[in-house]
Amino acid sequence: MEFFKIKKDIPFMKNALVFNAISFVTFALAVFFLFSRGLHLSVEFTGGTLMEVSYSQPADLQKVRATVGTLGFSEVQVQNFGSARDVMIRLPAQKGVSSAQQSEKVLTALKADNPEVMLRRTEFVGPQVGDELAEDGLKALAFVVIGIVIYLAVRFEWKFAVSAIIANLHDVVIILGFFAFFQWEFSLAVLAAVLAVLGYSVNESVVIFDRIRENFRRYRKMNTVEVIDNAITSTISRTIITHGSTQIMVLSMLLFGGETLHYFAMALTIGICFGIYSSVFVAAAIAMWLGIEREDLIKPIKKDNDPTDENAGAVV
């Protein structure tokens, strides 16, 4: 079986401007939504109490809301979680009131209403922890970005490192943009997914760069644009198959993982889809704009066709 029967190199770079424009618009939209709507941060980041209760019959959200409302919390969110019988209640952090008191008060009130209610899960995070988590998240992101840039700069060349990281950060912003637009809950698990996808999709760019380097060496008559086109064309089958198989796993999580893994899998899905797009169309194009040349990659002392040459990389 073979999905990709491509006879000629696809002229990706001829349309680079179009692709970059599309990227830029998506990116701008994502940034716009991030600022206008903001992320719907989970309790882990904001501090507060989260309760999940279940009823034996489909729950009456209005009634639950009214019951919790009488307890005098300022901002309470009540919504279904997973099924109609499960209800999630979010209470903001209150100064001076401990978590235990909050969740117990709510549960007692709900029990008075309907004795069948069952507490499935509570989660309380103090405000100081929330701030730390947000800070640690940013630190982790910085660590990943710097680590990858250094690694690629050493392994390839700084122009590649910069374009790969720009392309993939653009993915991260787009994922965040989706979360802002749909107001999906941004939790620690989603943060983990975003960082994992950042590390994962950078390797797409790595494969293409590897091939570009090899092509510069092999086809001396090709110009930069042709070399890049050929590199992308010959790796596209592998790119789509690997992303497809990763996506199968993520899809399985989306289908079977339940509510807890839902947004985690969602972030991965967006990351994988845009990961293909950005490494194929954006990373190489940025490298081209940055003026990548044969001389950048081929060191003066050449060891052509040496299979043990580590720098030869692999072409797939």
């Binding site: 079986m1 073979e2 029967k5 006879k7 401990s98 978590s99 235990a100 507490l119 499935r120 899960r121 509570t122 989660e123 309380f124 995070v125 103090g126 100081q128 922890v129 988590l133 998240g137 630190k139 982790a140 660590f143 990943v144 680590g147 990858i148 690629l152 392994r155 620690l188 698990a189 943060l191 983990a192 960082l195 994992a196 950042l198 590390g199 994962y200 950078v202 390797n203 790595v206 494969v207 590897d210 089958s237 592998r238 690997t242 198989s245 796993m249 993520v250 399985s252 999580m253 289908l255 079977f256 807890t260 893994l261 899998a265 991965l268 580590e310 990389g313 692999a314 072409v315 797939v316």
Partner: protein, 626 residues
């Protein structure tokens, strides 16, 4: 060219064997069990206890599948939960005659059903996190500033009495935040005070304060001493928490230090958060009182008569009653430390107590006036007192250093010191994070994680087999081996598996197949270029390796960042993610190559390999390579 030397196959076989052995325990499931552990620092679970448990079970007519004493607790395994509950009642009745004073913790637990030979190899099932088995998780923050202030306060008192003792006149000592300010008359006194502090208070550093014509000295706690105070406060709080949690009857509580000033408490299976919180936040107090040695009191002690007015009856640890005066001499607030040790002369085990200045003064007066009499040290918990020890006063004790001795074994000395120290929290704590997961939710989460991994795995393997034929099958087997290694390593490390961890497992498999796709595509490409099958396999693996390595490194960078900066659920994800990347490099490259070599390597005149369609653009038509 596609042959592995024997040692490479040997590595594969050994790795597979280890993988299978350490993965096995996960398949046996868990059996209901009753776990008996010590409820007090002074009680040890030993073979005697084991005998008692066995007798109790026999008496109740319950037969245990197995019963064993390991690591300070007894675990008895049963066939069904009914028997487990019956057994628990029987054991509880036998071991805890007085419900108000439990000596043992009898708890329900789940124990792996894996056979003894596996347990002997330290092969245990993966350790499930709270979100998979249900329970409560608390993170407590210790108020270190309060601990330091308390320490400075006690040092201030010590300093005051020492200055008086040495006859150094001062114009007032006061504590200002965490510094002690001393006003002195003249330069000479200032010098004397400074020398005294340097000689006697190793924890303090002094600084002259120039303030017009006044002589002032400010003393503050040294940074290294402050660190020690904080470490001790944390350690003591952890000990106290241990003692309190024992009462909850939790089979495997986790109480761990996190960072410099935090404690994580995890109680698997506990659903009653309110009670747990109540017990964690409780304060125990210590009191020193005089023993009532009047004849009436003696009579009451021996015959159980009426307790005289102004006295109370308490039980000693051995269960003997003791009549103690109601008047309190000292409380635990005055006790700064308790450590086990040995007497200088007799080499007998002793407990050394350190009192603060006020306590030392009172203690000196009391001991001077009561030579030959007994004093009792009583620990109050939940409003119930127990006499820890009641020694006879041999002489006046000054200086705030008290030695408790007399017919104690080393263990007893250790336990008494622990009990005295553990009486109260060294510093106040606050719950800053709390999570409760119901047991049904835990089971659901396991099923969800398991389903995600299984279905994703099956679909990927099916796709690989269709798309890459024989090579796809090799890739699929390699992926299965990857999963085997991942589970084996997680079981071996006893790393906590959480739902995000299971998600990481699924993702690791999804990413691991990447390497095999790289290899297979590369081999196809070599074949497309007209290279001979053996050379194509060789080049495919060799050439793909650099790319696989590069791509795994970038993924690993992200994983390490998550491990370093993540906490809670993210950590659980990161651990599995990182291990998954490492195992995938082994299984996808080294192991799958082994399979390919075994299959094709020996065939000298290999005409074709089964790797699906190798399509050649030149011909314009597809050429089947197999």
């Amino acid at each position: 060219m596609n042959r592995y030397p024997v040692w490479k196959y040997a590595i594969i076989v050994i790795a597979l064997l280890l993988g299978v052995v350490y993965t096995l325990p996960n398949f046996f499931g868990e059996a209901p069990a009753v776990q008996v552990s010590s409820g007090k620092a002074t009680i040890k679970v030993d073979t005697g206890t084991l005998q008692k448990v066995e007798d109790a079970l026999k008496g109740a007519g319950v037969t245990a599948q197995s019963i064993a004493l390991e690591g300070g607790s007894i675990r008895a395994r049963f066939d069904s939960t009914d028997e487990q509950l019956k057994a628990k009642d029987a054991v509880q009745k036998a071991l805890i005659p007085d419900a108000a004073d439990p000596q043992f913790v009898v708890a329900l637990n789940l124990v792996s059903r894996s056979p003894a030979w596996l347990t002997g190899l330290h092969a245990a099932p993966m350790y499930l996190g709270l979100d998979l088995r249900g329970g409560v998780h608390f993170m407590l923050q210790v108020d270190m500033q309060a601990a330091l202030t308390q320490r400075v306060e006690s040092l201030t008192g010590d300093l005051r009495s020492l200055l008086r003792e040495k006859d150094i006149r001062h114009g007032g000592i006061s504590r200002n935040g965490q510094t002690i300010e001393i006003r002195l008359r003249d330069a000479q006194q200032l010098g004397a005070a400074k020398n005294l502090i340097a000689a006697q208070f190793a924890d303090l550093q002094t600084q002259d304060v120039a303030d017009g014509n006044e002589f002032r000295l400010s003393a503050s706690i040294k940074p290294e001493a402050a660190r020690k105070v904080q470490e001790q406060a944390l350690k003591q709080n952890i000990t106290t928490l241990h003692n309190r949690i024992n009462e909850l009857g939790v089979a495997e509580p986790v109480i761990q230090q996190q960072g410099l000033d935090r404690i994580v408490v995890q109680l698997p299976g506990v659903q009653d958060t309110a009670k747990a919180k109540d017990i964690l936040g409780r304060t125990a107090t210590l009191e020193v009182r005089m023993v009532d040695e009047s004849t009436e009191a003696r009579a009451a002690e021996q015959a159980g008569g009426i307790v005289p007015f102004g006295a109370e009856r308490y039980l000693e640890r051995e269960g003997r009653p003791l009549i103690v005066k109601k008047q309190v001499v000292l409380t635990g607030d005055n006790l700064t430390d308790a450590q086990p040790g040995f007497d200088n002369q007799t080499q007998e085990p002793v407990v050394n107590l350190t009192l603060d200045a006020k306590g030392a003064r009172i203690f000196k007066d009391v001991t001077r006036d009561n030579i030959g009499k007994r004093m009792a040290i009583i620990l109050f918990e939940k409003g119930k007192g127990e006499v820890v020890t009641a020694p006879v006063i041999r002489g006046e004790i000054g200086g705030g250093r008290v030695q408790i001795s007399g017919r104690m074994s080393t263990t007893e000395a250790n336990d008494t010191a622990l009990l005295l120290r553990a009486g109260s929290l060294a510093a106040p704590m606050e719950i800053i994070e709390e999570r409760t997961i119901g047991p049904s939710l835990g089971a659901e989460n396991i099923a969800k994680g398991f389903n995600s991994v299984t279905w994703g795995f099956l679909v990927i393997v099916a796709f690989m087999c269709i798309y890459y034929a024989m090579f796809g099958l090799f890739s699929g087997i390699a992926l299965g081996v990857n999963l085997l290694f991942l589970v084996a390593i997680l079981s071996m490390l006893q790393a906590t598996l959480t739902l995000p961890g299971m998600a990481a497992m699924a993702l690791a498999l999804g990413m691991a197949i990447d390497s095999n796709v790289l290899i297979n595509e590369r081999v196809r490409e070599e074949l497309r270029n007209g290279v001979s099958p053996q050379a194509a396999i060789h080049a495919g693996y060799d050439r793909a390796w650099a790319t696989i390595f590069d791509s795994n490194i970038t993924t690993l960078i992200a994983g390490v960042a998550l491990l370093a900066f993540g906490s809670g659920p993210v950590r659980g994800f990161a651990v599995v993610h990182c291990i998954g990347i490492l195992t995938s490099m082994f299984s996808a490259v080294f192991f799958s190559r082994g399979l390919v070599n075994l299959w094709y390597g020996s065939k000298k005149k290999l005409k074709s390999v089964s790797i699906g369609t190798v399509w050649r653009p030149e011909g314009g038509t597809a050429v089947k390579a197999d």
